[in-house]
């Protein structure tokens, strides 16, 4: 397959999110998000969930809406429970490598940082995966830094193939690829990709991505579309809140991006992660950190705007906040995570991407979820692969 200039196979799509992004009236929306009055909040909250406009979404990010956060949270919870039930999908990150050629000012893997670099062999990756399987996980997110050679498509194919017979659901959070390259990863057994744009604000993006392939804003922005066209069934997106001083700008962009993907790539299931800047070796400190209350408001607004989007909370956030957010609108979460390659079987040997804040064990998180009336869902494979058939062992089912 041949790629054209922006990485699509064959004819480029007539409309991409790049077109749409250019038409979003950010200036006006950010003003709404900062200065909306109570009557605008009333109007946004009176709408049926799922029928809000992007303006309404921006209004729900405002301080005026923040005064009605409890009301928003109640509505968000009701919609979430109706759509997803009292269940929580569980996944675990597995870092394959912290090698990186990009220099991103906020990241613990950035090229110039003096951390211990490590790339797992296939055998080491299998050991890490066995560790996670033994803890119950069936959905694993493989992560790497951005290093074309050390962790290129062939490397990823090998590692995905090695896990495909044992892990029902494999997702990737790695550098972005062309449509043809994504198709190879789909064929290897990967079903989903997560691509954070980090910030949708082009100038901020250029400022924090100092060097390396990740500097290419548009290439990254269209990554989810290329992945969807290649057959990836699950797309995860998100902004790293705190990179751009106006977090509401990125919040609006994430909401618009999600709505675009749902409409144009309707076969893929879309989820949104809500990461905030965490301490790392990079010592980046946000000019304007996002508060717990603002993060919660963001979750509620996303849920009311997009009732059926998956919302993901990782162990970046502290236990108490995560526990609160689980009841408000989160549908997918990790637990007991390590953010360095080899970190499950051999912790503390290599540099980590960021410090985790929720240090509870898997068991503790699961017990908490059960305690608040949620059933953790581990097994939810989407594609009936040969691997799934091979996993079918022993006559354990009732005849």
């Amino acid at each position: 397959m041949n790629n054209n200039w922006n990485g699509f196979v064959g004819k480029a799509p007539a409309v991409t999110f790049a077109n749409e992004l250019g038409m979003i009236p950010f200036e006006r929306l950010v003003i709404y998000a900062a200065e909306a009055g109570p009557e605008m909040v009333d109007r946004a909250l009176s709408r049926e969930p799922g029928s809000l406009t992007l303006e309404d979404f921006a209004v729900l990010l405002s301080p005026a809406a923040g005064e009605r956060l409890e009301e928003m949270a109640q509505a968000s919870r009701a919609v979430t429970v109706a759509r997803f039930g009292r269940t929580m999908q569980m996944y675990a990150p597995l870092y394959l490598s912290n090698e990186c050629l990009s220099s991103c000012t906020y990241c613990g893997f950035a090229r110039a940082l003096p951390i211990v670099r490590r790339t797992l062999s296939v055998a080491e990756t299998k050991r890490e995966a066995e560790h996670l399987l033994a803890h119950g996980f069936r959905s694993i997110l493989l992560l790497t830094g951005e290093h074309e050679k050390a962790t290129g498509v062939e490397f990823l194919e090998q590692h995905v193939r090695a896990l495909a017979s044992a892990v029902p659901q494999i997702n990737l959070e790695v550098q972005v690829w062309s449509e043809a390259e994504y198709a190879r990863l789909v064929a290897a057994g990967c079903e989903g990709v997560t691509i954070y744009q980090e910030t949708y604000h082009p100038q901020t993006y250029a400022r924090v991505h100092e060097a390396g392939r990740k500097r290419r804003y548009l290439w990254r922005l269209l990554g989810p579309e290329r992945a969807a066209r290649a057959g990836m069934r699950r797309l995860g997106i998100g902004a790293l809140l705190g990179l751009h001083p106006q977090w509401r700008y990125d919040a609006v962009a994430v909401a618009a991006h999600t709505a675009f993907l749902q409409k144009h790539y309707w076969r893929s299931s879309i989820s949104v992660s809500i990461p905030r800047m965490r301490p790392s070796e990079s010592h980046f400190s946000p000019e304007r950190p996002v508060s717990d209350r603002e993060l919660t408001q963001y979750v509620c607004a996303l849920r009311l705007f997009l009732p059926d989007v998956g919302l993901v909370a990782s162990t970046r956030e502290p236990a108490e906040l995560r526990d609160g957010l689980f009841r408000v609108g989160i549908t997918r979460t990790s637990a007991g995570s390590a953010t360095e390659p080899g970190g499950y079987e051999e912790p503390d040997e290599a540099g980590e991407q960021f410090q985790i804040a929720d240090e509870r064990s898997v068991r503790e998180v699961v017990e908490h979820l059960r305690g608040i009336g949620y059933e953790p869902v581990w097994e939810d494979w989407a594609r009936p692969t040969e691997a799934a058939e091979r996993m079918l062992v022993r006559n354990r089912l009732p005849a």
């Binding site: 429970v81 109706a82 759509r83 997803f84 039930g85 009292r86 269940t87 399987l133 119950g136 069936r138 069934r233 749902q262 309707w266 076969r267 893929s268 299931s269 059926d308 059960r370 009336g373 949620y374 059933e375 869902v377 581990w378 097994e379 939810d380 494979w381 989407a382 594609r383 009936p384 799934a388 058939e389 996993m391 079918l392 062992v393 022993r394 006559n395 354990r396 089912l397 009732p398 005849a399």
Partner: protein, 258 residues
Amino acid sequence: MDDPLKIADREFGSRLLVGTGKFGSHETMRDALFASGTEIVTVALRRVDLEATGGPDILEFVDAQRYLLLPNTSGAVDAEEAVRIAKLARSAGMPDWVKLEVTPDPRYLLPDPVETLSAAESLVDAGFTVLPYMGADPILAKRLEEVGCATVMPLGSWIGSNKGLRTRDALGIIIEQATVPVVVDAGLGAPSHAAEALEMGADAVLVNTAIAVAGDPVSMAGAFKKAVEAGREAFQAKLGPQRGEADASSPLTGFLDR
């Protein structure tokens, strides 16, 4: 049993089928199934821990002696995958009955009519008893019947919406024309919706979300049981005709008799 629901070669005392998704715990699900009086329980094969190495598995909470376990193909996006899942369930020792779901769209989980018909045909050929989830399209219902499906399962509204019988008029045609049982599946949000479906002549209903996400799922399951029984009884008792307006108290043509 009086007035059994007959599907293929089996008879069932209950006209309420129940799904197993979205419950807050397996224990609540088990108790709700019991309270519903159901005899047919559908389980997503993708939620079953085939390897049986993890924690408690959903199947441990569904008594295979009490219920017909109806594996469903949820997660399948085309005919090929649906057929594969059904065969996987059968080789796992589950019954060769299958609730066919082919839903390429992850948001509304609407059934793909083209792929559903194609999968139904293959599965009937492979010896399965096929219960297909479908849009409320009367012609599609006839086509599914013709390829040998044991029921048709048109949606009342989309899965999980709890909106009730938004497709009522089309359901009326499907019920009128059907030669296999019509099971209204999806969108029933309240016992009154289930009663309404049975009153209009549907043979059965399938309910999941409305029970699973209720404040008290076990009580709600009991409420659906009663509603389904009441709806069926009302259908058999034959409802009185509906009238748009009251009759004029004095006949308009009375003057002719004077």
